[in-house]
Symmetry: C2
Subunit: 552 residues, 2 copies
């Protein structure tokens, strides 16, 4: 085992920040995640850089804003030449290993252009966010061309679950009391038990695969960062017994919503509310079926993490493994009359984030609850720091969280940023917004959440007076709100005009480019005397270049 720590980076998919007991859910008890928080630092203001899987993850895996990496929606290849956390980790002798989902699409055109064989080691890493693949699994979309037969399908078949589409027929379908198979792509079936026993379910399988990796790596002298990336509690919402039956309507929290939200004059919000998924999740009978299944999936995840953490304890891995737990975005679940994600209310854009460091350096902060404003892109520089890498602020736009984790110093971001490209959406079509204008940006300063909508007026929430974000102040005439909007626009301009692409010049290179203040560039010297008085060097010292630098 290396004496440098490992990192187990656990990511749930579509897990709201507030559906864990340590984040305040009164009925959904998640003791294993809570215990991790007790041993580590729990962040209450962690924001993702896009409220949708693909771009949020590309930000997580590159440590860069969506604006910078350019993969603005699901299924958009991460451009070739965009460096990832895996690359930075390998540079300092750490492995970067994937077990689960990334939502990455390879830039096949870019690889062909640069002559990179997709089957080569470099090509495979470029296709997988820079990770080496121990297990890849992006879940299933029955209507997607990206649907591939996976190792989990093989696993199911090997365990006797024979089908042409085992994932769909077992993991994503339920059985009714008459034994009939019913698809969880239909929400009415959400409360049925999945057609697979818990121990062969996706969450259990991926937990086992993480253990397989850690076991195999145990005798390496190389530290690793393992990204254990569950595809649950993402839809389809269905969970195996006994989790399908643990929660009922008595455990469902009232939706966070106000009638006034439905009468918004904002065209984009109107279009969201008219989108099919929002109309669907605004119905009480939908919530009554789906929320218990969603809760069951989270409960199951917590139990599997308990199993994993115990195994890590038993094998001694816990002593030297930093654990991060987070999610790629939330889920509206009918709050604000909305479904799925894709916008910026806290239930969609804020995520749980727990960091646990077993080393004595973190003893001072065990159980700390940090309300520092942080971003998902802060994890990449944190992990790089943990494995001993040099900071790369010219590439990694996040900030190292280690000072908070070790109690050696704190910071809180002045702003968190999140971005969404809605060119694909029902909203863009309903409003006739062209591709290039169909984007929104959120900037949040810990109190004010400002959403720039390009062709429409902005949206503004004051989370101090309105923590549930029910009242849009984007058109308010109050001078205070006008002032806040102007300030947030200015801050967004600061952010947007900042260097994001100057990735080939380290701060040290930039420092080295500094020109002696008195000398300037070699232009403008009148005569030898001026040159020598200014530079302190004889003018002739300029001369002997040339042949000595002959490259041939």
């Amino acid at each position: 085992m290396s004496d440098r720590p490992n990192v187990l980076w656990i990511m749930a998919d579509q897990l709201r920040f507030d559906y864990l007991s340590c984040y305040g859910h009164p009925h959904l008890h998640t003791p294993h995640i809570d215990a991790l928080a007790q041993r580590g630092v729990r962040f209450t203001n962690a924001y993702v850089q896009s409220p949708v899987c693909g771009p949020s993850r590309m930000s997580a895996y590159t440590g860069r804003y969506v604006r910078s990496h350019g993969s603005t929606w699901n299924g958009m290849p991460l451009r070739i030449g965009e460096p990832t956390l895996g690359d930075h980790l390998r540079d300092v002798g750490s492995r970067a290993v994937l077990v689960g989902k990334t939502h990455m699409i390879a830039d096949a055109e870019g690889m062909a252009w640069l002559g990179i064989d997709p089957k080569s080691e470099i090509g495979v890493r470029r296709a997988e966010c820079g990770f080496d693949i121990f297990e890849r699994d992006d879940g299933l979309h029955p209507d997607s061309a990206r649907q591939n037969w996976s190792a989990y399908d093989d696993y199911l078949v090997a365990h006797g679950y024979s089908s042409d589409n085992p994932w769909e027929d077992f993991a994503n379908s339920g059985v009714d009391p008459d034994g009939e198979l019913l698809s969880a792509w239909l929400l009415k079936n959400s409360r049925l038990p999945a057609n697979v026993p818990e121990e062969h379910s996706e969450t259990a399988y991926m937990t086992n695969r993480a253990m397989d990796f850690m076991q195999a790596a145990q005798n390496d002298d190389q530290p690793w960062v393992c990204h254990l990336s569950y595809i649950k509690p993402h839809w389809p919402y269905i969970v195996p017994a006994p989790y399908h039956d643990m929660y009922d309507s008595g455990h469902i929290l009232a939706p966070i919503r106000a009638d006034a939200e439905r009468t918004t004059d904002h065209p984009l919000m109107q279009a969201y509310l008219n989108a099919r998924v929002c109309r669907s999740f605004s119905r009480d009978h939908v919530r009554e079926q789906v929320v218990p299944a969603y809760m069951g999936l989270i409960k199951q995840l917590d139990d599997n993490l308990g199993r994993l953490f115990k195994w890590m304890e038993d094998t001694g891995l816990s002593r030297n493994t930093i654990i991060a737990f987070t999610s790629d975005h939330g889920d509206y679940m009918g709050d604000h009359w909305m479904g799925d994600k894709d916008f910026y209310h806290d239930v969609a854009v804020k995520v749980p984030l727990i960091l646990y460091d077993p080393r004595p350096d973190a003893d001072a902060t065990r159980g700390l609850v940090s309300d520092a404003l942080v971003e998902m892109i802060d994890l990449a520089p944190t992990f790089l720091s943990v494995v001993g890498g040099t900071p790369k602020p010219h590439i990694l736009e996040g900030r190292d969280l280690t000072p908070i984790l070790h109690g050696t110093g704190g910071f809180s971001r002045r702003y968190a940023i999140s971005e969404h490209d809605y060119h694909w959406s029902e909203m863009a079509q309903a409003l006739g917004v062209p591709q290039e204008h169909a984007h929104t940006k959120m900037i949040f300063d810990g109190r004010w959440k400002y959403i720039r909508c390009e062709t429409f007026r902005p949206i503004l929430f004051d989370l101090q007076s309105d923590p549930q974000e029910l009242s849009d102040l984007g058109a308010s005439d109050l001078p205070e709100h006008q002032e806040v909007r102007a300030r947030m626009e200015a801050a967004l301009l600061d952010w947007a005009t900042r260097h994001h692409s100057r990735v080939t010049a380290t701060p040290k290179i930039l420092e080295g480019q500094k020109i002696a203040a008195e000398v300037g560039i070699l232009i403008g010297f009148w005569d030898e005397e001026e040159y020598e008085a200014t530079t302190g060097k004889p003018f002739d010292s300029l001369k002997p270049v040339g042949r000595s630098n002959r490259s041939t």
Copy 2:
């Protein structure tokens, strides 16, 4: 010869827009360039994307803003994975060939990371802005580690100009009446004749090399875009006889400057004015030496272009070769009490741009003077269009100028943008501005030129009432000026938040991602009935995926 046109893209270095007779210089007669303008379209409002060689050229060669390609200052490698005009041209069967300067630095680290051999064809192109090199020549800096022995040095030696550093000793040095060799790195020597006859000077040599290329390519059936990139009239300011003696103080235009500019309260402008090169060029005796040499260099360039154009006429190449003539930025020459470039007055950031298309399509516009606001990045999509390529708006941020050239439609940009990263500079040091904040952005709408200075107040010029840009309205209290500043900030935010990095998704791909407005994403259907009513398809049609997509 291909029936598709060739493009000869001529770029001068550091050529002001107003030092050509077709652009109004009363004493500097440039009949050959003027004649090109008579046969083509001359643009009077063409702006470069950075007022300094490296970033301006990287924008020209990528068709993208500095913000997008990230090579923000000289010597910063163009990141691997940044597609260039050469790549786009090759994709549609055209050659892209370099004769001269690019100022490009290869991203060696990026190439190593992606396993690209720098000596391979792909590696060599990546090191040279995507061009195939016929001749590379970035000029000489005697104090630069980048100084390499060049083909021009070989040429000089082969013609009897023997030295350890022939370029410096012959091309960049003068001889005084006593036969003593004096360096043109000292401005006092600018009016001496260069120590090389005109026919062996840099400008003549590069002209010859362009003819060598065109001759060699004449029997190809592949069209080409040849970038003939002169390093003159860039400093060191010295020119061979007889050009050294063609102009004297009677031909020097009065400097564009006002005493009020020297008493600016703007810290950044104060720092510029205190920079050594600006103090130097503010002295009349400096201008008296340098301006005649600068004019001589331009006159020499014009004569060489005359020779080139005649040769192209004689060989028949003119009939099928589109000619573009431009520059990478201007030169203050003491205007505004400034020297060199690096800021946004028109004399630095506006360039000459002439487009000549010999084909009948352009007959309607011969001699046209276009005041359309255009940018240097518009050339890349124009050349791609000329050789028959499909537009690539997701990568190329410029606009095709062909409609203006052919008179089939016009456009004028709402804004031109230019950017400067001054982290390296005396100004940053004098003001203590940290690396990440040492940048400025210009946005110009054809009348108002607004310069955002990050940590300082903005600068504003009204080119309608103040075409010489002598009066900074950045702190003006007039409501009109406040309103203009707010409008320009808003426009800059529009630009800055626009997609610049979404390079892997063509408009067609984005269009294909559109989700049927009534259907949405496959989430939120309650039951079979709702699914079928909405989609018009039986729910069972979702099912048969899986094994058919098995990738193994």
